[in-house]
């Protein structure tokens, strides 16, 4: 049985940060019209062929002309190239559009949008809607069309790509944060020595915050985005869960890669810009229930769910409930509690009364330990399952007779240090740390760096935030060497969607794999 010491961060969820680049106000509004079909006034699209009228948001320009404006892309679709250089180009004879006309001006561009005619007076193809919008919105759109495809890209200069990282200054995660920063620095240095990415060097831009001051992380994030000029964020850690900055960050569209925090699966489409390495708490809960179902084969079908009433505890409980339903396990009792304030004795009594066989726990480690103490006092030792990222550190530090029936789900697969795949990671580690000593922070940060490097390579020299997100979102079975293969998709923002189940080796203060890493059923 392989073993490794794992340390987990306090869980925090992190939506995306953002900024809209260096566009003027008008260009920015025009960009919204282009991308989303929404302006200051109402916008409608009249479809010439079917003779229908639809809201502009159903037919934004970008859905055919694509985000950067050039024509031919995926699937042989040929929408016109509407980059300004092309539109204003002199061109005798028939253009690639199949029509002959002079260069566009602002006025003829407006007419194309609203009346579907080119400067020569030819009708555009009838697939092109005629848009109805007010004069101001039209001005904004034209302003944006002039810079479409050549907007300055935040964090990208001729020679450099800047990558931000949010790190706690002080607090329990400070050492981990320093280790992660060091690892990424060395990673970037090596990459730069190898020629960088498309003739640019990667630069890590750390932003420190005080984890004890509520607005500190938000201020640091804002500074990174507005002042520090970064393309994306990588391996953030320690941002307090209810920090006000998170809301601000979520609204803007900065790619966030591998936040070193456990997450809740966001509602579909709610957070397209954050790419997690590891499974969300609800998916971990599913793997826990799968494990219970497989281990008991129906004989122990009476489970209890204890969960904190915060967002993560609630999400974990929901995942567990759904999966128990799927397996036909009976949830005999649910005990919600305020995090840090579990009424342990009362809970044990309730669970025993309900003749509970197995306990599923989603809350802080201190509450878990309190519960285990109380149960032990009653000499009741049911299997107790909890996500390691939530309870791991506390439970591990109290490893004793108490924890013999504890099973932890870990989204992190234990690294096989003997494997060839892991060799580059260990070699990198040896350059700045103690050889052979690493934590799950290192693993996840390294995986995040690999992910970023690959996505940058796929994005090309003309990288934008959008292209980076597209590249990340299309990675399939990507090997990092230290995690399960990472796969992302249109509606999938977790790379390694699964978990393993661990037990605690009380004598050696370590962890033993009880069930190997697997995806939820």
């Amino acid at each position: 049985m392989r073993r490794a010491l794992l340390v987990f961060p306090v869980l925090v969820l992190i939506p995306a940060l953002a900024a809209a680049g260096n566009l003027s106000e008008a260009e920015r509004r025009g960009q919204r019209i282009y991308l989303e079909g929404q302006g200051r006034g109402s916008i409608t699209a009249r479809l010439v062929g079917p003779g229908l009228t639809a809201p502009g948001s159903a037919f934004p320009c970008a859905s055919c002309h694509l985000d950067e404006g050039p024509g031919v892309r995926e699937g042989g679709v040929r929408a016109a190239d509407i980059t300004h250089a092309t539109l204003t180009k002199e061109f005798p004879g028939v253009r690639p559009s199949g029509r002959a006309h002079g260069p566009y001006t602002d006025e003829t561009l407006k007419r194309a949008v609203t009346a579907g005619r080119d400067p020569g007076g030819n009708l555009l193809h009838e697939a092109h809607p005629h848009y109805v919008m007010n004069a101001e919105d039209l001005e904004d759109l034209v302003a944006y069309l002039k810079v479409l495809g050549q907007e300055p890209v935040p964090g990208v200069s001729d020679t450099e790509i800047r990558v931000g990282i949010l790190l706690p200054d002080g607090g329990p995660l400070e050492a981990a944060a320093t280790a992660v920063r060091d690892l990424l620095q060395v990673y970037f240095e090596e990459l730069n020595d190898q020629g960088g990415v498309y003739r640019r060097k990667l630069r890590l831009v750390p932003a420190r915050f005080d984890p004890l001051r509520p607005a500190s992380a938000a201020a640091a994030a804002r500074d990174l985005i507005d002042g520090q000029d970064v393309l994306c964020l990588l391996a953030n850690l320690g941002v307090p869960p209810e920090d006000e900055g998170l809301a601000l960050l979520a609204a803007a569209n900065v790619p966030v890669i591998a936040p070193l925090q456990i997450a809740v699966r966001p509602p579909d489409g709610a957070d397209d810009h954050t790419f997690h390495i590891y499974a969300t708490v609800d998916d971990q809960a599913r793997v826990m229930v799968d494990f219970v179902a497989a281990a008991t084969e129906g004989s122990l079908a009476r489970v209890a769910i204890l969960h904190a009433t915060d967002r993560i505890g609630t999400a974990g409980a929901a995942g567990a409930r759904q999966q128990a339903d799927k397996h036909g396990l009976m949830v005999v009792v649910e005990v919600p509690f305020a995090a840090g304030r579990l009424p342990a004795a009362e809970s044990v009594r309730l669970l025993r009364e309900a003749r509970t066989d197995t306990v599923l726990f989603f809350g802080p480690g201190t509450d878990a330990v309190a519960f285990l103490h109380e149960a032990e006092r009653e000499q009741w030792r049911p299997p107790f399952l909890a996500p390691a990222p939530m309870v791991g550190a506390t439970v591990l530090s109290t490893a004793s007779e108490l924890t013999r029936t504890v099973f932890l789900s870990s989204p992190v697969a234990i690294l096989d240090v003997q494997s060839r795949d892991a060799a580059p990671f260990l070699a990198l580690l040896a350059k700045f740390g103690t050889p052979g000593e690493y934590s799950s922070f290192h693993v996840a940060a390294y995986a995040g760096a690999k992910l970023l490097e690959e996505a940058l390579r796929r994005s090309g020299r003309e990288v934008t935030r959008h292209r980076l997100v597209q590249a990340l979102g299309s990675l399939w079975a990507f090997p990092t060497g230290v995690t399960p293969l990472l796969t992302y998709g249109r509606s999938r923002r977790v790379g390694a969607l699964g978990a393993q189940i661990l037990t605690i080796d009380v004598e050696r203060q370590g962890l033993i794999v009880a069930a190997p890493w697997r995806e939820p059923q």
Partner: protein
């Protein structure tokens, strides 16, 4: 010409054969009245309109045929589909009898891919063009699905052998450099004829059409120093827009993806000239190495890669500043270089080292060097593989792109495209011998030594089909695609020439979800086409068109004067040819007059299948394609005979 006419006739024949066969079972579908059809939330809207004009469709003219596919509920275009479509004449205007039709039934036959059963117009067809060393281009109809057989659809004579070619984005025109005639021939791929010859002078070799289709860039390899450079031709008008001397030696040409910059190498000068396309002016000569031999532009790195044959280095020119930003070391002997579509991986052959180098444009490093023996000289890329042709080997090497960039170098696979080494033929063209086929994951490979074209599908051990080129030696290949193309989101279009007037069935098929529907198009008689029909009319005196295999069949037919409706007697040169679909072994049969205006011939149908009989009378200018033909089905045991490819 005769061949083409016959080819066309065969297709028509196959169709008519079907139409005329008694339809058993359900009555024919009523013709749909509307051109919009909705099924399973998918709306398909069919239209056909004359190219470049309004009004009705007319025979002999080109038509834009279009299917607009949308989500019926939202109206959103459905992208990236691969619809199939055919057009068949349901009822020719001049038809004497009204044959019962069932469009859907016909379509399922086409889908089954049976030999000899093809619609009049296949909207998903394509042609393979071979640039022959015999001063010509052959047009091959690959008719995939019929291994080992093909026929040359058309033959295009050139003034002298072509060196290189480029085609327009719509595949309608092909530009061929002909160094020894000092010209560029423009081939119209609708009619497969040389429509114009553009005298450019000098020694035109490499030809490149820029991305937006505006300019043709022709490398002039003239020995005169003041002349050697590029000739720029306005592709629309074919007027020469400029002549830009760039330096000595052979010229390779590349353009930036936005067509702002043209790059021209000067092999004997050791430079690459940078040309501002908007001004058609040379702005810079960049010293890259002693012998710049290949140019390739990386879209992902926005940089031009210049492979040097002598120094064995690859210089990387920044796409904006036009300065050497990096140099990648390899070994002397470098040849052609190409990038993957995304611009990430650059492949360059090394004929002296028997290797292919793979460059990672992300960090300008050599990612792999793989061994490819036999002096590799040319390469082509599909989505999945890099194909490499060698001079001294009949084997084509394949490098899987999915394995590029890993720790281990990619494993090279091979297949044999012929038995003779391409180097056995003299005079290798500038244009390449490998071209991706129109169908996914397949290539066509020319072997100039044995004269054949090989069709290879990825994953197979050997080529699927061999296309013989009737004694010509192809040095390069191109493909002309006539398939429906998605020209705008959800709009699938192609251009066809309407051969006859009448009511057409327009079959439409979608695979996923499985949809099949028939639309209708009316094509009017064309008054512009001389209505001088053939001076003769023919009536085949045949009671049963189903005959047994193997025996001789005596056929009688009656020829009537079209004007007077009286029998034409005494025609001494009545000719009959017949053959089995799809057109092999054309056999001429002797004809004798047996009564007034009644002629007789004997045909031997040796194999089971569909046969077509044609009659011509040259003395009255009636060619084989002018008169209706007769179709016969040779069968065994009274069962309808199926083609060999039938499943």
């Amino acid at each position: 010409v005769l061949h083409r006419a016959l080819t066309f006739a065969v297709r028509f024949a196959a169709l008519t054969l079907l139409l005329a066969s008694p339809v058993v079972g359900q009555p024919p579908e009523p013709a749909p009245s509307a051109n919009r059809w909705v099924r399973e939330d998918i709306a398909v809207e069919f239209s056909a309109r004359p190219v470049g004009g309004q009004g009705e469709l007319r025979e002999g003219n080109f038509a834009e045929v279009e299917f607009r596919i949308t989500d019926a509920a939202t109206g959103r275009p459905l992208r990236s589909l691969a619809p199939g479509a055919w057009m068949d004449i349901g009822q020719p205007v001049a038809a004497r009898e009204k044959a019962p039709l069932d469009c859907r039934q016909k379509m399922s036959l086409y889908l089954s891919g049976r030999i000899g059963i093809r619609p009049m117009l296949d909207l998903n067809s394509y042609f393979v063009l071979t640039l022959n060393r015999e001063s010509s281009i052959s047009v091959v109809d690959p008719y995939v699905g019929m291994p080992g057989k093909t026929y040359v659809f058309a033959h295009i004579p050139l003034s002298r052998p072509g060196a290189d070619w480029a085609k327009t984005a719509d595949h309608k025109r092909l530009f061929v450099t002909i160094p020894r005639s000092r010209e560029v021939a423009v081939v119209d791929t609708e009619g497969f004829k040389v429509s114009t010859r553009v005298p450019v002078g000098g020694t035109p070799m490499r030809i490149v059409l820029q991305g937006d289709g505006r300019y043709l860039w022709v490398g002039d390899d003239s020995a005169e120093t003041g002349r050697s450079g590029v000739v720029v031709i306005e592709a629309g008008t074919l007027e020469i827009a400029g002549r830009i001397p760039t330096g000595r030696g052979h010229h390779e040409i590349a353009l930036s993806p936005d067509d702002r910059w043209a790059f021209v190498s000067n092999r004997d000068e050791g430079t690459v000239s940078v040309i501002d396309v908007a001004r058609l002016a040379k702005i810079k000569d960049v010293k890259t190495g002693p012998q710049p031999i290949a140019l390739a532009y990386s879209r992902s790195n926005q940089a031009l890669y210049v492979a040097d044959g002598k120094s064995g280095e690859i210089a990387v020119l920044d796409g904006r500043r036009h300065e050497v930003a990096a140099r990648i070391a390899a070994k002397p002997g470098l040849g052609p270089m190409r990038f993957t579509e995304d611009g990430r991986w650059g492949f360059v052959v090394n004929s002296e080292e028997n290797a292919v180098h793979i460059v990672d444009s992300a960090n300008n490093r050599m990612a792999h060097t793989v061994r490819v023996g036999g002096r590799p000289y040319s390469l082509a890329l599909t989505r999945a593989f890099a194909y490499v042709r060698s001079l001294d080997s009949a084997q084509v090497s394949m490098i899987p792109l999915s394995e590029v960039g890993r720790e281990q170098p990619p494993a090279v696979k091979e297949f044999a495209a012929g038995t003779e080494r391409p180097g056995a033929a003299s005079g290798i063209a500038v244009a390449g011998p490998i071209v991706p086929a129109v169908v996914e994951a397949a290539v066509m490979v020319a072997n100039p030594a044995d004269g054949n074209v090989y069709f290879y599908m990825e994953g197979m051990m050997a080529p699927m089909a061999t296309f013989r080129n009737w004694g010509h030696r192809p040095s390069a290949l191109e493909v002309v695609n006539r398939s429906l193309k998605e020209i705008e989101p959800g709009v699938y279009q192609t251009t066809v020439r309407l051969p006859l007037a009448g009511k057409y069935d327009v079959g439409f098929v979608l695979n996923s979800p499985r949809l099949l529907h028939c639309f209708v198009a009316d094509v009017a008689l064309n008054p512009a086409l001389a209505r001088r029909g053939p001076p003769l009319e023919i009536e085949y005196l045949v009671s049963d068109r189903r005959v047994s295999v193997g025996g001789d069949v005596t056929l009688a037919f009656k020829l009537t004067d079209a004007a007077t409706q009286r029998p034409r007697t005494g025609l001494g040169d009545v000719r009959v040819v017949y053959y089995m679909a799809p057109g092999r072994e054309r056999i001429a049969a002797p004809v004798r007059e047996v009564a007034d205006g009644v002629y007789e011939t004997t045909v031997t149908l040796r194999e089971a299948g569909a046969y077509y009989v044609y009659v011509a009378v040259p003395s009255v200018e009636v060619q084989f394609a002018d008169l209706p033909f007769l179709s016969l089905i040779a069968e065994t045991g009274g069962q309808p005979v199926r083609g060999r490819a039938a499943n």
